[in-house]
Symmetry: C2
Subunit: 546 residues, 2 copies
């Protein structure tokens, strides 16, 4: 049997564009004598459409596009994802579903059973769980079809949920010849190898090959990294879709034994995911040009590299906005980085504006020491300048805050937190260093000047300021982030696990909660970790637990 796992990149809500793409793939599959084309979850509307599905005309629109797809499917079988109405009983009146089409006829729908409602997933808000399963007669075989999460419970890799049913187990009695899974599985650091294990486990139970077709592309903050999977009936990994790009993965189940080695490039994949996140944020909105503040520090250096790789050097503008506290080294580092990357570069000094504003405020600030107020003012003046460039010349602003400083609130609301997209807001500081070193190593030269990597981190908002004046070593901050935010450990367990004094842990955990109000208004952050701030993490601003 010949199967095409069509790892495509839909745009949310672009029913026409996505349908054109689906029909083009079907045409190509026919020309290659494919038996079944398998598309990702919610193909017609893209995953996740969120509250768009609450509009009747949106659901009607998908139904109309499905009819076009059915008409385009003569002589081939197609499994394509969409939202459909639940006409039966149940809490919610929609299903997350796939249409099963054979030779121009709709055989029926397979609804998703297991509806993730944790972290970034919100499916119980919209969908009723499917109840039934079966095998479908396609290309003379018994084909089991399930959707994304449906395969995860069986391998025990589900988060914060214990589904009472297990679709893989329940399919066992039908003895499928093959299992197909239509997925939209977000990238997260070190996740792809887990996805393979999940497929192998289902293959082992059902004694059949498994094909998992993943959506690829970024939609707002969530990045889908592709990596579609084909494991044969002996659980050998036979094919793997490309990382972070569209891929038509052709599978011949009769092709004999196979074994593809999976060597996972942890930092390389993270970098690719971030590039995809930026590119899709821009291109899906038909924006081309980005600008960002280049401070000479390591965070903006990394974001500049990502922006260049996502959008092309000619579309990136680095803006240095020095004040009286900016060192000569930083100014030089910013300029050198821009030169190395071949991006545009300008310098807008903020000192004159800063002094002008202080003069206006002077009558009301007299007798008060300079403090964090004046530091924040500098960051906010920079934001006004950079947003003016955005407004006048159509640049989208990239924000360079990392996860560690955002966690601690060591950042300025409406200042450096401004931007259309927070590129590395889910990357902890120690990993920012890792990525920069990895980047230079990959390019076999110091694209990012070594002085940028080696100097002590500083916001340069007052004389001789260093991050270490206000925060513990980033290694400690990042351990607490892992323990508290990602793994929900108790503070005493964090102290013990990472050998950090419990007062330090408590102090950092309090800072995380206190900065909630800032993060609520920060640029949307590309999610790449197990638990990102913003999407997937919902905490009250006003609370007295910590």
């Amino acid at each position: 049997m010949k199967i095409l796992a069509a790892q495509i990149n839909p745009t949310i809500g672009d029913l026409d564009g996505n349908t054109r793409k689906i029909i083009d793939v079907i045409k190509e599959a026919k020309s290659k004598k494919v038996d079944i084309v398998l598309f990702p979850e919610l193909t017609i509307c893209g995953y996740a459409p969120e509250d768009l599905v609450l509009h009747n005309s949106f659901i009607d629109g998908m139904q109309q596009r499905l009819e076009q797809i059915i008409r385009a499917s003569s002589g081939i079988a197609v499994v394509v994802g969409l939202v459909r109405r639940n006409l039966f009983s149940g809490e919610k009146d929609l299903f997350n579903s796939v249409a099963v089409i054979d030779n121009g006829t709709l055989l029926g729908f397979q609804d998703k059973w297991l509806l993730p409602t944790y972290d970034v997933f919100n499916e119980r808000r919209y969908f009723e769980p499917g109840q039934d399963t079966r095998v479908w007669a396609l290309a003379g075989k018994r084909v089991g079809i399930i959707i994304c999460e449906d395969i995860w419970q069986h391998a025990g890799y589900v988060d914060l949920t214990n589904y009472p049913r297990d679709p893989v187990q329940e399919l066992e009695k039908y003895h499928p010849d093959i299992l197909l899974n239509a997925s939209a599985s977000p990238y997260q650091f070190q996740k792809p190898d887990v996805r393979i294990k999940v497929c192998q486990k289902a293959s082992k139970t059902l004694k059949c090959p498994v094909v998992l077709c993943c959506q690829v592309g970024a939609n707002d903050q969530i990045i889908f990294d592709g990596y579609s999977i084909y494991v044969d009936k002996n659980q050998n990994l036979c094919k793997l879709g490309k990382a972070c790009e569209e891929d038509l993965m052709y599978i011949d189940t009769e092709a004999g034994s196979c074994n593809v080695p999976f060597e996972y490039d942890v930092l390389g994949d993270l970098y690719k995911a971030l590039v995809l996140g930026v590119r899709d944020y821009f291109h899906k909105q038909e924006f081309t040009k980005a600008c960002l503040g280049l401070s000479g520090g390591i965070d903006s250096a990394l974001v500049a590299c990502i922006a260049k790789d996502a959008l092309g050097a000619e579309n990136v503008l680095g803006i240095s906005m020095p004040s009286q506290f900016t060192s000569e080294q930083s100014k030089e580092d910013a300029k050198n980085l821009a030169t190395n990357l071949g991006i545009d570069f300008i310098e807008l000094p903020i000192e004159r504006t800063f002094e002008s504003m202080k003069k206006t405020l002077n009558p009301y600030f007299e007798g008060k020491e300079e403090d964090v107020t004046e530091e924040n003012m500098q960051a906010r003046i920079r934001s006004v300048f950079i947003m003016a460039f955005s407004n006048k010349h159509g640049y989208i602003v990239l924000s360079s805050g990392n996860k560690s400083e955002t966690a601690m609130g060591y950042c300025t609301l409406y200042g450096d937190m401004s931007g259309g997209l927070g590129v590395i807001g889910d990357v902890v500081k120690t990993r920012v260093y890792d990525l920069c070193r990895w980047y230079n190593k990959k390019h076999k030269k110091d694209v990012i000047p070594s002085t940028v990597i080696e100097k002590a981190p500083s916001a340069e908002l007052r004389p001789d300021q260093k991050d270490l004046d206000s925060l513990p070593d980033y290694q400690i901050v990042d351990h607490v982030l892992e323990g508290y935010v990602e793994d929900y450990l108790r503070v005493d367990n964090i102290a013990e696990k990472y050998k950090i004094p419990i007062e330090t842990v408590l102090n950092l955990v309090r800072k995380i909660h206190q900065a909630e109000y800032k993060r609520r208004q920060g640029a949307p952050v590309l999610r790449v970790s197990k638990k990102s701030f913003g999407i997937g993490r919902q905490y009250p601003i006003v609370q007295k637990w910590m």
Copy 2:
């Protein structure tokens, strides 16, 4: 039977403070010979605790506080809300529950059956639905106990959900003598009268009195307006808790027939809710002082009134920040308003800073016309000034954007959208006018200068600018908001219902979607309508549906 519906205002996560409050109420109830004290939903942690419930130590903390409450309950029955662990099967390992305590003994738990997962509610993210119900023997009576949403399905007032079970119906066979409901039911424009109907419907089916005890107070964006309810077995409304304040509502079910008239002050209640929203946002964080930009326009005028009533005139600072485009009338209006309210007032001209920044940008903007860039710059410079006041003097900034302009994107990100709290961000412009007129009428004088109410709305960011240059009449905008955002109507139906050209409707709907990226970073907005931007409305930024 004597019942106390304890309409209290818990603080999210303040397990100790809330427990003290609960035990104090129990003591007072004992002194008044009450048989049963009924508390609101999730009393011990406050509603909604969101992801705090994912921390084991948070759940353990509630269990410990429950033990204190049990010990304090000798000689009385207590129904108190908390999160407890689900030790049985099911998707989620927590229940939204009430503990039923009698005379110092825990009789058991009643778990919530119907878990709202729509709009601002997210309960399927955390909780497993309860399965069983019963009547509880308390004070010699058969007492039915349910939680919030459990009573709504029966009256058919549930949004976007059709629960397959109906706890009220299922209680019928137990012939309860009374039904108690522990609630946390958010304020929304014109909702309280619906809540009464819901209780009357349950009373009619069960042929018994119904007591519904509501949480009161604001938690971040959601405002709980109180209005606890007692209807007798003949569906007469016998008692109604106070609006927007704590209230111990004593009920004697043997007191004979009764009938309390419910005259709903629609605008008065909306105003009270907004005042409560501001007050709790501040006081629950131990902040006292607010500042806001006073433009001389109607939006900031209304917010200044609300701030004064929430925090006291002595804690409110109005800052006028005129530019060369600010009319003398507006400057005067701002000053007069401050005088009328008795709040502090200062003037910080922005012109010098504006000119300084334009000079810095000049080399890069040469040959370009002045446009929205320079308009946004003014709004952002004001934000830098006002945030400097916040940082230096500890004021929290109130944002004055209304729902109509936020919907249209007729507002400046990091400019007038800045602030700790968006006070009227869920109030449409036409209702802002209604509230201002109502306010002056209530005070029997023009506290808000009549010139503020009568002049044409203008952002005053360029010469002779009027809102009407960029937008249709606000009456039209507000109709489209009602039709599209609140009621999910199709564009053609909106055009027909409100007699607006369909091109206008389409144009406005597109604007709503296009401004999604701005609203994502705006100040959190107090929710007072059926569908607020921000919390309760989840749309992608990048999408091509509209």
